[in-house]
């Protein structure tokens, strides 16, 4: 049962629970770094003390998808690893978010060839695209802040296909 329904019994209309849940969830992002390529160096730089993702509540990587909220796909995804990525996404519990980190995950980047997935959004839904080859840590942090805004706005509700955020 979703947390919202646990807090508010059936028949109750809530106005502020989403805001409170969104606030709580956006500052406790447990990330799962799915690191396959060179973007991983930039990810490490972002996560380490100089740029310090921990300031945003996202400094705690969980290496089990069942404990993670946010799947960070960092690096080129080949067709061969694609089923693994999909399986890890399926193993994560709701609410969950996906970040495409770097151009290879966004669109395939310059690997327009027989072996590379042309954007991970063909296999998993993506909440946030961070372009760059690799993206600068500032770009990553800006992306993370945007994701936090998204989480705040949606209160962490499970995704709907037609949802477009304003």
């Amino acid at each position: 049962m979703p947390l919202e329904e646990t807090i508010a019994p059936a028949g109750t209309m809530t106005t502020q629970i989403d805001a409170a849940l969104g606030w709580a969830r956006k500052y406790s992002i447990f990330q799962y770094p799915f690191v396959t390529a060179c973007c991983g160096m930039e990810f490490m730089s972002t996560a380490a003390s100089h740029y310090d993702l921990d300031r945003f509540g996202a400094g705690f990587p969980r290496f089990s998808p069942r404990q993670a909220d946010c799947l960070m796909v960092v690096g080129t995804i080949s067709h061969k690893i694609a089923p693994v990525l999909r399986r890890i996404y399926d193993q994560m519990a709701e609410p969950k978010w996906v970040i495409a980190f770097g151009v290879c995950t966004c669109t395939g980047g310059f690997y327009n060839n027989y072996s590379t997935v042309q954007g991970i959004d063909t296999i998993v839904p993506v909440d946030l695209y961070i372009p760059g080859c690799p993206p600068r840590p500032e770009t990553v942090i800006q992306g993370l802040v945007l994701l936090q805004e998204k989480i705040q706005k949606t209160g962490g509700r499970p995704r709907r296909t037609t949802e477009v955020l304003g």
Partner: protein
């Protein structure tokens, strides 16, 4: 070291004599198989079409010195006619699998040749010059290229043709 020294002397060996020729090289002291690769000469309309290239090196392991190299070219077609050199250099196992995977050049006298880099259900050999450059074979995901479930406005659509 100059480029010529790294490339080493070139020898051309007929496909039928390959294993004997390589065994002779091994007996001469060429104890390291540096690389085993392949070139597709389709554009030159050469017959037979492929060159399988073996690069071997004489390594003095005690001193760590390179005592000379030989590059063996062996012209082959698509049919598997080359005898495997796994028995001479065990490293050839994976290299032969890679050549099979990428170029579709087969090897006989060896068990269990299967793809090394691509997945089992992949059709064709992607480094052949007649493999269509825009052909995509996703293992999972929509073949038409529509997005999984994304509200994004990503307009760069993958080129999906063929399989």
């Amino acid at each position: 070291m100059s480029g010529a020294a790294i490339a080493g002397e070139r020898r051309d060996i007929a496909a039928a004599d390959l294993h004997d020729g390589m065994a002779a090289l091994k007996a001469e002291g060429y104890n390291v198989l540096v690389d085993l690769t392949c070139v597709d000469y389709l554009a030159l309309k050469r017959e037979p079409r492929f060159d399988v290239i073996y690069r071997v090196m004489k390594l003095d392991a005690a001193e760590g010195r390179d005592l000379g190299r030989v590059e063996v070219h062996c012209a082959v077609g698509v049919e598997p006619v080359l005898r495997s050199v796994r028995d001479l250099w065990p490293v050839a196992d994976w290299l032969e699998r890679e050549v099979w995977d990428m170029f579709g050049v087969g090897f006989i006298d060896r068990p269990d040749i299967k793809r090394l880099l691509m997945y089992e259900s992949f059709v064709g050999h992607p480094l052949r010059k007649d493999y269509p450059i825009a052909k995509r074979q996703p293992l999972i995901g929509p073949k038409s290229g529509e997005k999984a479930d994304s509200p994004s406005f990503n307009i760069l659509r993958p080129t999906v043709v063929g399989e």
